[in-house]
Structure formats: structure tokens, C-alpha cells
């Protein structure tokens, strides 16, 4: 005898666009129009390519964050984890000393395994330790950040082998069929992620846990395993992002990846994924990451707001995105 009747109304009105899914795309188009009005250079192919390429790190990390958030979790450690993984990878490459493909492949593998291991650590503490993800990843955020400061002795870890740098360069600066490699990378990551989230039992379990953990438990969903895996996926995505990030500057410092967690979570929320879990929108997340970079680009190209305030603008965006989400929620 609950209040089911008023809700039937929406069902009888036939097709209605899902504003939650569409809003990030609408916002992106609006921003592009705004950017063009403020500075015609904005719409140039080279500028747009540049913007999308630079959004790659956050986009890849945010795809991982979509899994964690869809299951009702949160990972604040991704920025520090990226710095730690990047620094470790460069140290391994320097330590091996070679400049051949084998050495590079080894370094790449180290980054991926280390990222996945960091994610596994987060996931196990959350599930086995039964501790709030917010607290766990706040802790590991501090740990990973301290580790990179320690490894870099407060300075910079630089990829020293010149041959290796040249070999590795195309991973960020290269193009295939005119499309930058980082863009291809994040499209591939998003494609694989959406298959996993939408087409596999694991993906269903992720959403079910975020939607109602108890229902999932009573339905026989292996909650600990699924939740742990979302953090492993997050770690793996951080590893992938690092693979694309390192050739850009060829170094890692104690400030690498600072506030990336803010940007990743913002991208996910802008993309229409509810922070309380229960939905995951991979392509929305991708658009969210691009929106963040577009906003920064518009700030640089126009003189409306100082570009030093970019963090403030990003912080404001996540708050506005939450307000929009909630008003759309009410409408339903």
C-alpha cells in the first residue's frame, strides 16, 4: 500500500529523454559554443585535439572510478597512487639501464602490476577490514604521497636513458590515423570498461551492490570479491593512465597527480553517475573528463577568470553537478 500510483504517471507518457544521461553531452556542447564565442581559436583542430589529449589521464582514471563509485565506494588515493606508480616505474626503467623494447615493456608491466596491487590493497582493507572506503583511501592517499616524496627524496625522478625516452615518446605524442595515442587509449579503456560494466555478471553485481548492498547479499552476490575487484580495476586504470602520462614529461615529482582524485570524481559525477552508487555511466564519465579540460582551456584562452583559479572552478563544478543531479532526481 505504498504510494505507487503517482509514479505511474511517467510511465504512461511514453518516451522521455533520460536527462541524467544526456545532460553531460548537452553541457559539453554548451561549453564548446561558449568557448568559440569567447575566442574563435578555441574551435581550431589543433586546440581541440590538444584538449582531448590532455584529458586522457583523468579520463582513464575516472573510468576506473566509475566502477568504484557505481558499487557505492570511493577512492581518494588515485592521485597519489599515480605519482607513486609513475615514480616507481621510472626508477625501475632507470635501474634496468637498457634502452630496448624489452626494457620498456618490463617497465610498463611494472606500472600496471603495481597499480593493480595498490588497488588490491585498498580493496582488501575496505572489504576484509570492513572500513569506510573514504577513510581507507584517505589513509592510502597519504601513504602513496609520502612514498613518492621519499623515493624522489623531495626532488624529481627523471627517466635518464635518452634512448628509452625516444622509444617511449610516441605513447603520448604519437598519432595513429591522425588520432593521438592517448585518445585512442582512453577510447579503448572506455569501450572495454563499458562491456565489463554493462554486459557481464560482474558489472550487474557492481551496480546491484551500489543500488542496495543488502539485496545483493541476500541474492548471493559475492560482495567482498566484487567490491575488491572494483578497486583493482581502479588501480589498473591508474597504471594505464601512468603509461600515457610518463612520456609526456619523462619525470615524476612529489606534486605529480595532485588533486587528480578531485578531477576524477568530478568527471564521474558530471557524467551522471550517482555518488551514492547504483548507476555507472562510462561514456558520461569520459565526457565529464573532457568537460573539465575544456573549462580549463577556455579559462586560458579567455581572460574572464585567472587560470590560477582553475582548482576553484573545478571544485565549483562538482558542487553544481551534484545540484543538477539532485534536481533531475526529483523530477523523476
Amino acid at each position: 500500500m505504498s504510494q505507487v500510483i503517482p509514479r505511474l504517471k511517467t510511465a504512461t507518457l511514453g518516451w522521455r529523454p533520460d536527462m541524467r544521461a544526456l545532460s553531460p553531452f548537452i553541457a559539453l556542447v554548451a561549453l564548446i559554443v561558449l568557448g568559440t564565442l569567447l575566442n574563435p581559436d578555441f574551435l581550431s583542430l589543433s586546440n581541440l585535439t590538444n584538449v582531448v589529449t590532455r584529458s586522457a589521464f583523468i579520463a582513464i582514471i575516472a573510468v576506473g572510478a566509475t566502477f568504484v563509485i557505481a558499487s557505492g565506494g570511493l577512492d581518494l588515493s588515485v592521485g597519489s597512487m599515480a605519482a607513486f606508480v609513475a615514480g616507481s616505474m621510472i626508477l625501475v626503467l632507470n635501474g634496468m639501464g637498457g634502452s630496448d623494447g624489452g626494457t620498456l615493456a618490463m617497465g610498463l608491466a611494472v606500472a600496471l602490476v603495481l597499480g593493480a596491487a595498490c588497488g588490491l590493497a585498498n580493496g582488501l582493507v575496505v572489504t576484509v577490514g570492513r572500513i569506510e572506503p573514504f577513510i581507507v583511501t584517505l589513509g592510502t592517499m597519504g601513504i602513496f604521497r609520502a612514498l613518492i616524496v621519499y623515493l624522489a627524496a623531495g626532488g624529481t625522478i627523471t627517466l635518464s636513458n635518452f634512448g628509452l625516452r625516444e622509444l617511449y615518446r610516441p605513447a603520448y605524442f604519437g598519432q595513429v590515423a591522425g588520432i593521438p595515442v592517448p585518445v585512442l587509449a582512453f577510447l579503448a579503456v572506455a569501450a572495454i570498461a563499458s562491456v565489463i560494466l554493462y554486459k557481464t555478471p560482474f558489472g550487474r553485481h557492481v551496480v546491484a551492490i551500489g543500488s542496495n548492498r543488502e539485496v545483493a547479499r541476500y541474492s548471493g552476490v559475492p560482495i567482498g570479491r566484487v567490491v575488491t575487484l572494483t578497486y583493482v580495476i581502479q588501480g589498473l586504470c591508474v597504471g594505464l593512465a601512468v603509461l600515457v602520462y610518463v612520456p609526456r614529461l619523462g619525470s615524476a615529482t612529489p606534486t605529480t597527480g595532485l588533486l587528480w582524485e578531485l578531477q576524477a570524481i568530478t568527471a564521474v559525477v558530471i557524467g551522471g553517475t550517482a555518488l551514492r552508487g547504483g548507476t555507472g555511466r562510462i561514456w558520461g564519465t569520459l565526457v565529464g573528463a573532457i568537460i573539465l579540460e575544456v573549462v580549463g582551456n577556455i579559462m586560458v584562452l579567455s581572460s574572464l577568470v585567472s587560470e590560477y583559479l582553475i582548482g576553484a572552478v573545478q571544485g565549483a563544478i562538482i558542487i553544481v553537478a551534484m545540484l543538477v543531479q539532485r534536481s533531475l532526481q526529483r523530477e523523476r
Binding site: M1, S2, Q3, V4, I5, P6, R7, L8, K9, A11, T12, L13, V195, K199, T200, P201, R204, H205, V207, A208, S211, N212, E214, V215, A216, R217, Y218, S219, G220, V221, P222, G278
Partner: protein, 504 residues
């Protein structure tokens, strides 16, 4: 006598759908007026209009004979219309006294006057005949006690009309009896009571007059004395009720489940029982007797010790997945919080527990899932306006059918259903009983946990009764009477308590 609150030919439409059409109702001081009807008959809508939560699309409300229009629930409450919700709306972390006065705290200067609120709370609860401490944390209360706190909270404001929305859903017979005493006192004090219920026996027992709704229409208003529960059921359903319970087929199968010395820390101590193939075994007792916890323990949902033999093999389930793989499924009493993903559509809900059956290679086969949904809609008679509805949008009865369909996809050999007909209309009840009987006839061992004694007696081969976390005894065949169950459940003979539990 002038009715204090009168509805004259009230209608309510949501868009093109009329959910209430031309319903009239008079509430008189010192009288208990019951409103009955199946799910979707419009009871809740009527109640929400009378309490100011909704505005009628057509028709008028009269307050002491004069037309009135409530600005909102607060306006109605200020006039003395209080509503006791069916759902528990209390803050778990606050104490009972804090909940009672939430939003209307008593003050002394700038500070809250805790002592005065505690004293008033204790007095209110004593008047309700309960022994709940004002300082207890609401989280630690049983569902029934929370219901009483909620009633106390509602009655705290000066009231002239009290609306009860299916208040006995979570109450045991003894507790329901306390509630009826409260209602009797309200009536003596000249309060007009509107009582909405599924349980026709209790309506017969406490109401002065009865209004029957069907499909949003006013069917009849009759003095309760002239109406037997069977008549009420017929008026509600609009057809002659066939026999509510299916005929019992003797269970002659082998023993499939033996549980010995089962302990669930904090809830159950040293319980033992057996279950045969094709048998419907009832579990009776008061809310909080440990029935739910016993079976949650057995199916790996909570820590549990003891010896369980399943089909001749010793087993121990560490999690519900293991139990499901062994063919044992448990359907929670709390289908909204533990059974269905309310914000998901029907299809993902149906297949969630059995995703492995809908795979093509490593991927989900949504085509097969769709077929399964069509099948479930047919087999279980799930009535949904559209397949794209969210589970939340189904009526209670249809949610229960979807929940059953979901767990039956696992092809279980032992099914445990906890309160299978809670919040379900009488037509759906009948379908669920028939379904359970058919399941048993196929050789499945079925455990039915229920607080409705008539349901256990009508449906089960044997009834195990629990009291205070232990098995108090067992009744079967001719010994299955409400008296016998109440005696085992409470340790005292109480004819009144039995009377209170008469369901449809």
C-alpha cells in the same frame, strides 16, 4: 451527530489515470471507521487526501460541516488530524524520547528540556501499555516497539481525528491487542478513528462501520455488526472468494533437511527440526522469537553454529551463495530492503540471483533474460503496466510475486519464505498460497515463517513454534489451533490474543 470530517464525492486523478472516483466518507467523534480494499483500491490515496498530503481533483472535504481545503499535512495536523504511517519513520540513532519530540522539542529557555520530555514520553508509552524505556536507542527496538513509538509520537499532538494505516502489519497478536486497547481509549475520548487494514478479522472486532473500496470506487459503507469477514472479502474482491487455502496433500517424502543444536549468537539457542520433501513446515512465534535469525543463520546470512544435514550430507554454509548452490534459498520478510532493487527495472531484479543462467560466453544474454521475464510474468501473474517499470512502482503483491519468481529461477530444492503475504492483498495471498502448495507438490521442502496464525494453520503440515530464541514446541494435524500456537509462543493461554490475529 455532526461528522467531524466528511469527504463528499472525492475524486483524484494523476494525469489521465483516475485512482479515486466519487468516494464519500463520514468520520464521527467516538467512532471507529474502517476502510478496506485490495492493493490499489485507493485506500492510501483517500487517507492522504484526508490528512492533507494530497488535494482532491474533485469533490469536497467538510470539517465540522463547513467546507475546508487543507494547505498541507501541517495544516491538517494543526486541526487535530494525525496520521500513523504504515512505514516506520523514526531516526535510528536517537533515543525514544528524542524521536517522540523530534521537531517539537520541549524547551526551557534556549535549551531543550530533556527531563520533561523523558517524563512525558514515559507517560505516553505507559498509556499505550508498553514497557519501552524513553532512553532506549531506537535502533535497538523491535519493529513492533518502533510502531508503538510512532503511535506515541503521532498522539502527542492534540488530536481529534486519528488515521491508522495498516498499523498491525508488524505487530504480534498480543501487541495488536494493546493497540486495540489504545484505539478503544481514543474512541471513548471522543476521537474519530479511521482504520485502514487488510486484516478483516480485526476490522470486524474493532470497527463501528466499514467502507469498502474497489478499484478506486466506493462499493459499500455498512455497520460492522452487519458484516462478516467473508462478506467483506467478497465486497473487496467483487466475486465469490474461492477457498483461500489450497487442499493439503500429505507429505510422504524423505527427510531432506535435519538441523540439530543450531545456535545463532544473540538470537537462537539450541534449535532442532527436520523437513521432508514435499512438506510445508510452518514457523510461528512472536516477532523477535528468533525465527528469521534461525534461517538467516542456516543459509549463511549470519554466523551460526550447529549440525545441518542436507540430503544426507553434512553441510555448513559460509555465505548465501553456497546455500543457493546447494539448492537452499531464503526469501526475506523485508522484500523492499533485502529482496528487490527498488530502483532497478524488473529484468535485472528477476535475474540478479541467477545471472549465471543467462550467459552467452562471458557476457549477459539479455534476450534470454527478457524471455525469462515474460515467462515469470505469465507463471506468477505479475501485473505491471509496462515491463520497463521500476520494481518500486509495482504494488506490494506484485513485488512479492517478482521476488518469488527471482528466487525460483535458481530451481531450489528447499525454499524458506519469511512472511510471504505481508502487505499483500487477499487476491494475491490466495495466489501465493497456491504457488507454495504447488511447489511442495513438486517435492520441494518448504518452510513458511509467518506471524499470521491462520495462514500457518491453513497452509502447513506441521508448525514449529519458537519463543525467546528457542523452539517451544510443535503442533500438527488436529492440534493446529490458534490457542495451541499462542500458548507455545507466549507461554500463557490467552484467548484474546488469538482473537486479535484473525486474518482474512
Amino acid at each position: 451527530m455532526v461528522p467531524i470530517l466528511q469527504a463528499v464525492s472525492i475524486s483524484k486523478s494523476f494525469g489521465p489515470i483516475e485512482v479515486l472516483g466519487g468516494v464519500s466518507l463520514e468520520l464521527e467523534p467516538g467512532r471507529v471507521h474502517a476502510v478496506i480494499g485490495e492493493n490499489g483500491a485507493g485506500k492510501s490515496t483517500l487517507m492522504r487526501i484526508l490528512s492533507g498530503h494530497l488535494q482532491p481533483s474533485d469533490g469536497r472535504l467538510l470539517w465540522e460541516g463547513a467546507p475546508i481545503r487543507f494547505a498541507g499535512p501541517h495544516d491538517a495536523e494543526q486541526r487535530g488530524i494525525v496520521l500513523i504511517h504504515q512505514e516506520i519513520l523514526l531516526a535510528d540513532d536517537l533515543t525514544v524520547a528524542q524521536n517522540l519530540f523530534l521537531g517539537r522539542e520541549m524547551r526551557r529557555g534556549l535549551l531543550v528540556d530533556d527531563a520533561a520530555m523523558r517524563a512525558r514520553t514515559a507517560q505516553m508509552l505507559a498509556e499505550l501499555g508498553t514497557a519501552i524505556s524513553p532512553d532506549a536507542q531506537t535502533r535497538n527496538l523491535s519493529l513492533a516497539d518502533r510502531q508503538f513509538v510512532q503511535i506515541a509520537r503521532a498522539l502527542l499532538v492534540p488530536h481529534r481525528v486519528a488515521i491508522f494505516d495498516e498499523p498491525t502489519t508488524v505487530l504480534t497478536p498480543v501487541e495488536a491487542e494493546k493497540l486495540f486497547a489504545v484505539i478503544a481509549r481514543l474512541r471513548e475520548a471522543g476521537v474519530a478513528v479511521l482504520y485502514i487494514s487488510h486484516k478483516l478479522g480485526e476490522v470486524k472486532a474493532i470497527a463501528d462501520s466499514v467502507t469498502v473500496l474497489r478499484d478506486g470506487r466506493h462499493v459499500a459503507t455498512t455497520p460492522a455488526a452487519e458484516l462478516e469477514p467473508a462478506d467483506m472479502a467478497r465486497l473487496m474482491v467483487g466475486r465469490e472468494m474461492a477457498k483461500l487455502y489450497p487442499a493439503k496433500v500429505p507429505a510422504t517424502g524423505d527427510t531432506v533437511l535435519t538441523a540439530e543444536e543450531i545456535s545463532v549468537p544473540g538470537f537462537v539457542a539450541d534449535a532442532a527440526f527436520t523437513l521432508r520433501a514435499g512438506e510445508i513446515l510452518g514457523f510461528g512465534g512472536l516477532v523477535g522469537a528468533g525465527r528469521t535469525e534461525l534461517f538467516e543463520g542456516l543459509t549463511g546470512l549470519r554466523p551460526c553454529r550447529g549440525a545441518v544435514t542436507l540430503f544426507g550430507e553434512p553441510v555448513h554454509f559460509a555465505n548465501p551463495r553456497e546455500a543457493m548452490q546447494a539448492g537452499v534459498v531464503y526469501l526475506s520478510e523485508d522484500r523492499k530492503a533485502k529482496g528487490l532493487l527498488l530502483d532497478e527495472a524488473l529484468r535485472p531484479n528477476l535475474t540478479l540471483a541467477g545471472l549465471g543462467r543467462f550467459m552467452r560466453g562471458p557476457f549477459m544474454d539479455t534476450g534470454a533474460e527478457d524471455e525469462a521475464l515474460s515467462q515469470a510474468i505469465r507463471d506468477f501473474d505479475i501485473r505491471a503496466r509496462s515491463r520497463d517499470l521500476l520494481a518500486r512502482q509495482l504494488s506490494g503483491g506484485n513485488q512479492q510475486k517478482l521476488f518469488l519468481a527471482k528466487m525460483m529461477l535458481l530451481a531450489p530444492r528447499i525454499v524458506i519464505v519469511d512472511e510471504p503475504t505481508r502487505g499483500v492483498d487477499i487476491g494475491t495471498k490466495q495466489q501465493i498460497y497456491r504457488f507454495i502448495a504447488e511447489l511442495a507438490a513438486k517435492g520441494v521442502g518448504v518452510v513458511v515463517i509467518s506471524s499470521e496464525m491462520q495462514e500457518l494453520i491453513g497452509l502447513c503440515h506441521r508448525i514449529v513454534v519458537m519463543r525467546g530464541g528457542q523452539i517451544a514446541g510443535e503442533v500438527s494435524s488436529n492440534d493446529m489451533t490458534e490457542d495451541a500456537i499462542v500458548f507455545l509462543a507466549t507461554g500463557v493461554h490467552d484467548r484474546l490474543a488469538a482473537l486479535a490475529a484473525h486474518p482474512a
